[in-house]
């Protein structure tokens, strides 16, 4: 473990609206839906968890906002917050890119892990954040997810992973690819002890993350409209020399093709997860006390 003076720097928290958003609507006050273009007050938008009240489009939500919505108040404890990426391949400009995203998001890496209570039921969670390097999985993301699964196994609590990732982190090369194996072995160890693993695929869940832990939950869930798939649309179109339908690789497409158990709107996520956790907590024994 290395300690670099770089890390002594104070963290900056800043929210930077996209260039497009700045142009279209008054900064920080209004928000426009990407899909139906309807404009909302920021407050209303946030309260609705970034889901358009008009058309139902699910927009990006930060990892911390998701956690805040999901867990009972003041129950979430974060794990391994201080794990930071190195530059194992000495890849050109990698450190600069990481630093830029740290400043932009206030996060140290593309996943937040920890434990807390969902309607009183304990569970571990890993929430990926696509604002950080497209949510790509490098050594730190792999390590944090692996540790979260291992912690859940040892504590005998369920683990829920919210995937939001473009895939492997190219700048960490083969080490990034091997995180697919590492996380999958952790899942295997959890399964062997009958631990519960719930995968929730959010926009986007593609490439190496889709082809590892995200697809092998005891339950595979998805948020409406999320892009979910292995290969990129453009690569497939180039390979097969035909245009793909617009719904290709959406959550609904994966539901139709048997890869997803259920598509769950963001507003219903907490309730649905709580119900599943409750049923699993009973473990086959009737509980007269709960209704």
């Amino acid at each position: 473990m290395q300690l670099k003076d770089l890390f002594a720097k104070k963290k900056k928290y800043a929210s930077i609206p996209s260039e497009q958003a700045k142009k279209d609507v008054p900064e920080g006050l209004m928000q426009k839906c990407d899909s139906c273009q309807k404009i909302y007050y920021q407050k209303e938008w946030k309260k609705n968890l970034y889901v358009c009240p008009n058309c139902g489009r699910h927009h990006q939500i930060t990892s911390h906002e998701r956690i805040q919505h999901l867990f009972d108040e003041n129950t979430f404890v974060e794990w391994d917050k201080e794990l930071l990426s190195g530059n194992p391949l000495d890849f050109p400009q990698y450190e600069e890119k990481i630093e830029k995203d740290r400043v932009k998001t206030g996060l140290n890496e593309a996943v937040v892990t920890g434990e807390g209570l969902i309607k009183g039921k304990p569970c571990a969670v890993a929430v990926m954040d696509s604002r950080f390097r497209m949510g790509s999985m490098g050594s730190v993301v792999g390590e944090k997810i692996t540790r979260a699964i291992e912690n859940a196994r040892e504590k005998k609590i369920p683990v829920i992973v919210f995937a939001a990732s473009g895939g492997a982190r190219m700048q960490e090369g083969i080490l990034s690819l091997m995180q697919m194996a590492k996380t999958s072995i952790a899942i295997q160890r959890l399964h062997k002890e009958n631990g519960l693993f719930i995968s929730v695929m959010t926009n986007p869940t593609t490439g190496g993350v889709s082809a590892s832990f995200a697809s092998i939950g005891d339950y595979n869930f998805a948020e409406p409209g999320a892009l979910i798939g292995f290969a990129g649309r453009r690569i497939i179109e180039q390979t097969i020399r035909e245009k793909l339908p617009s719904d290709f690789q959406t959550a609904e497409f994966q539901l139709t093709h048997g890869q997803v158990d259920k598509v769950i709107p963001r507003q219903e996520m907490r309730d649905t997860l709580a119900t599943i956790l409750e049923i699993h907590q009973l473990g086959g024994v009737a509980d007269e006390t709960s209704s």
Partner: protein, 321 residues
């Protein structure tokens, strides 16, 4: 016509010149033996120079050489009684993956490998060695059988990647690969994986989680193709040579990164120069691996497999005060 790679042209040209001189002396009175000898010394030196310090991009070219031996070539040399079995029992049979049982030095084993073709016709049959979900599910079916009957598993990795097609997505390419990673982690028999050509990303890893991972000296193993990385990074696929270096995809690179166990040496110029010799080198590494792994108890085997992958990656931890 043999495929000649750009960097080895000087060697090939000199070799051809020597052959020509030899032919000339045969049909005439002139004695050129002294010249020929000199040239042969020069050839040796040139070969050592060129093949002794291959750049990553040179190795990429060798790994993609059209004559490079494939899984079935090695199976023929390394095993006896090989019987191939087909189908995933769900959808179909993927010819980009071969699977079967055989004996290795009398030991019953399960053999699985990605199979590409050496010409257009074969490549169309084998889908260029790029599996569909059926290929991964066929592989898993045979691995589970190996687990049931306590046979070690040997896999040969040789793919540009899992096939990026519409049907592959519809049938769950992601799930097929992911399931293999998880299931391979739990198999109670030794798993030895050998990268013999190109190890392309998740598609390679889909039969690549094991106890010992070896690579042929001129094979590559990468999260993305050099061309793909170059297009993303520098918006120019022609920068692939540069990307091949930055991505660290060669066998010596992966050995240094602690991802693989052994680099298996190749004959000068690459595996295609002498398949029998190459197979022998692979055989001796398999033998070593089997000897070490078959001694372990089931628990130790699984524990060591976990420990192996657990430590892969570079992570820095800031200590909080």
């Amino acid at each position: 016509m043999k495929q000649v790679l750009e960097f080895e042209k000087p060697v090939i040209e000199l070799r051809e010149k020597i052959e020509e001189l030899k032919r000339m002396t045969k049909d005439s009175e002139i004695d050129l033996s002294e010249e020929i000898e000199k040239m042969e010394t020069r050839l040796k030196k040139l070969e050592n120079n060129i093949y002794g310090q291959l750049k990553p991009w040179d190795r990429v070219q060798i790994a993609r050489h059209s004559d490079r031996p494939t899984t079935l070539d090695y199976i023929q040399h390394l095993f006896t009684n090989f019987i191939e079995f087909h189908g995933d029992r769900y959808y179909g049979d993927d010819e980009a993956v071969v699977a079967g049982i055989a004996r290795f030095n009398h030991i019953p084993v399960t053999v699985i490998g990605q199979q590409r073709g050496k010409n257009t016709k074969e490549n169309i049959e084998r889908n260029f060695g790029m599996p569909h979900p059926e290929g991964y599910r066929k592989a898993l079916r045979h691995m589970k059988q190996a687990d049931k009957f306590n046979r070690p598993i040997i896999t040969f990795i040789d793919t540009k990647g899992a096939y990026p097609g519409k049907a592959a997505e519809e049938r769950g390419q992601s799930e097929a690969i992911a399931r293999n990673l998880m299931e391979m982690a739990g198999l109670k028999v030794p798993i030895i994986c050998i990268v013999i050509g190109e190890g392309g990303s998740g598609g390679a890893l889909g039969i690549g989680v094991g106890d010992h991972i070896h690579m042929l000296e001129n094979s590559t193993y990468s999260v993305i193709s050099p061309e793909g990385a170059a297009a993303l990074l520098w918006k120019d696929a022609k920068q692939a040579e540069r990307a091949a270096k930055s991505l660290k995809i060669t066998a010596p690179d992966l050995k240094e990164l602690g991802v693989i166990d052994e680099v298996i040496p190749e004959p000068l110029g690459g595996a295609h120069r002498d398949i029998a010799e190459q197979a022998k080198a692979i055989g001796s590494v398999i033998e070593d691996s089997l000897e070490k792994l078959m001694k372990l108890t089931e628990d130790d085997l699984l524990e060591e497999r976990w420990e192996k992958y657990k430590k892969i990656g570079e992570v820095k931890e800031r200590i909080q005060v």
